[in-house]
């Protein structure tokens, strides 16, 4: 798994967009304020311990008028300071929330992210419906352009969390909500389900690529294409294996008869970095093992095992490898 973790970060403290930057500022404000308060409290405690205790004879249960007033003043000032600090944090938190929610733009890109056990379905919505397409476990966004992300869940509650771009947003079945994200600089950012959703909650990751506008446009153009027709005996056999096995009951390959809606769209599966929502690298060996027995990599996963004879398996792997 370590090779999946190299080369990019998943960090709240490395903001790559305006929303994450607001959250980052609030985070540091809270951190420093809590640190100062902690140090002051400890200092007061140490001071109280260090002060020499008066001898038994001089202890009086009645501190007198002056002592009473001094103590009252100390407690009142401390309470006042606490209230002011907490109120300041409340104002900062509300202001951050306002900033995060207001990144409207007329030219925004619109995405729909649907949480499933245990993968992400991503719809790129276009006003012209022929420009819409579907992908899975991977989001590409253009740098510097606001993106409206509409969130949904199909089965149980999930939570979309891309720490470098935004805070957490719960995905609740039957209830759509909306967040804005924007990436300031190109990069690969990791997203993760942040609400326990069953056996494979930990293996429910999402790659977010922030691309320069021209590269993003090229990616979109590629994703809008249907799958290429198989050429040659091996690929044709692979396509036939796919169509006659259980695969089309759940998976879609655009341009073929396979139109299942229960599992990731495979039209461009070979172009993705990972398999099974970040659980496996997208290599031929990993794909072969995944098809043979998905439960080995992700116990409890809904995809059933499929045993194929070696010839069929090679043909299927070759065919899936052409779906770029």
């Amino acid at each position: 798994m370590s090779l999946l973790a190299t080369g990019f970060a998943q960090s709240v403290l490395d903001p790559a967009g305006p929303q994450a930057a607001h959250i980052d500022r609030l985070w540091w404000l809270l951190f420093w304020m809590a640190t100062v308060v902690f140090v002051l409290v400890l200092a007061a405690l140490v001071a109280a311990l260090a002060v020499r205790r008066p001898s038994e004879a001089t202890v009086s249960l009645n501190p007198g008028e002056a002592g009473e007033r001094r103590r009252f003043r100390t407690v009142a000032v401390a309470t006042g300071v606490t209230v002011v600090l907490l109120f300041g944090l409340l104002v900062a938190s509300v202001a951050t929330g306002r900033e995060i929610a207001s990144l409207g733009a007329p030219r925004a890109l619109t995405l729909e992210v649907v949480g499933h056990q245990w993968w992400w379905e991503v719809h790129y919505l276009d006003p012209d419906s022929s420009g819409s397409f579907v992908t899975a476990n991977e989001i590409h966004v253009p740098v510097g352009r606001p993106v409206l992300v509409r969130t949904l869940a199909r089965d149980v509650i999930h939570s979309l969390w891309i720490p470098n771009l935004h805070g957490k947003r719960d995905l609740i079945p039957g209830h759509s909500s909306v967040i804005w994200i924007e990436a300031d600089r190109p990069g690969l950012y990791r997203g993760q389900c942040a609400e326990f959703c069953g056996y494979q909650h930990a293996h429910m990751a999402l790659d977010v690529y922030a691309d320069p506008p021209d590269r993003f446009a090229a990616w979109v153009a590629a994703q809008r294409q249907s799958a290429p027709a198989p050429s040659g005996a091996l690929l044709e056999r692979g396509a036939a294996v796919f169509q006659t096995s259980a695969c089309p009951l759940c998976h879609t390959i655009q341009g073929t008869g396979a139109n299942g809606q229960n599992a990731p769209d495979l039209t461009h599966v070979a172009s993705r970095r990972t398999l099974a929502a970040g659980a496996l690298p997208n290599t031929r060996e990993a794909l072969a093992g995944w098809i043979e027995d998905p439960g080995r990599a992700k116990p409890g996963v809904h995809m059933p095992p499929t045993s194929l004879d070696p010839g069929d398996r090679e043909a299927l792997l070759a065919y899936l490898g052409t779906l770029k």
Partner: protein, 213 residues
Amino acid sequence: MRKRDAGVSARWGGRVPPPWEGAVGSGGRLGGGRLAPVLLIALTTLLLTACERERRDLNTPPAADSHRPPVRVGTLQPGARQASDSAKGPFDENAYGISEGQRLFDWYNCTGCHAHGGGGIGPALMDDQWIYGSDSANLYDTIAKGRPNGMPSFAGKIQPKEIWELEAFVRSLAGLTPKTANPARADHLSTTPKPTSVSSGEPPKSQPAEHPG
């Protein structure tokens, strides 16, 4: 499996405070020693049932088609009568299997013809008078081999395990699975008030034998 069940019971038994001790210790005021064995048996039964109900085999390899013929659709036979295969399916008493069957019922578009048990293009499944029999093996055959006039055949497309899960769920729609196994919550139509209110092991309201057609 046996071994794991025993371990679980032992662990649970260790955590639950033994309720009979209080009764015995208080000088028989609450029924004395007679209560102890009854409670012990009740507790053990509860634990064993619960274990089986919640068993989940997540890493089952693709199993061979394990159901045994003869599966009879009708009752007319030449010569002496021989019983049909009336053994229960492997998930008929398993809550996880039934709930997985409920998910697959949507995934494989059973709802397209049978709606959520109410019927439409295909027959309703909420009653227990089924054209091709209501035993587990009959249902397995119906799903695996298909039936004339519309029911598609799923053998070779979906795993035998999935067919058994679907079979358990469809039987639960008609109240043919024990109420201890039915999931507490079902979103589907049912003639029975609630899956959990069907009494355990209740026989079909009409024997399929009397309605072969």
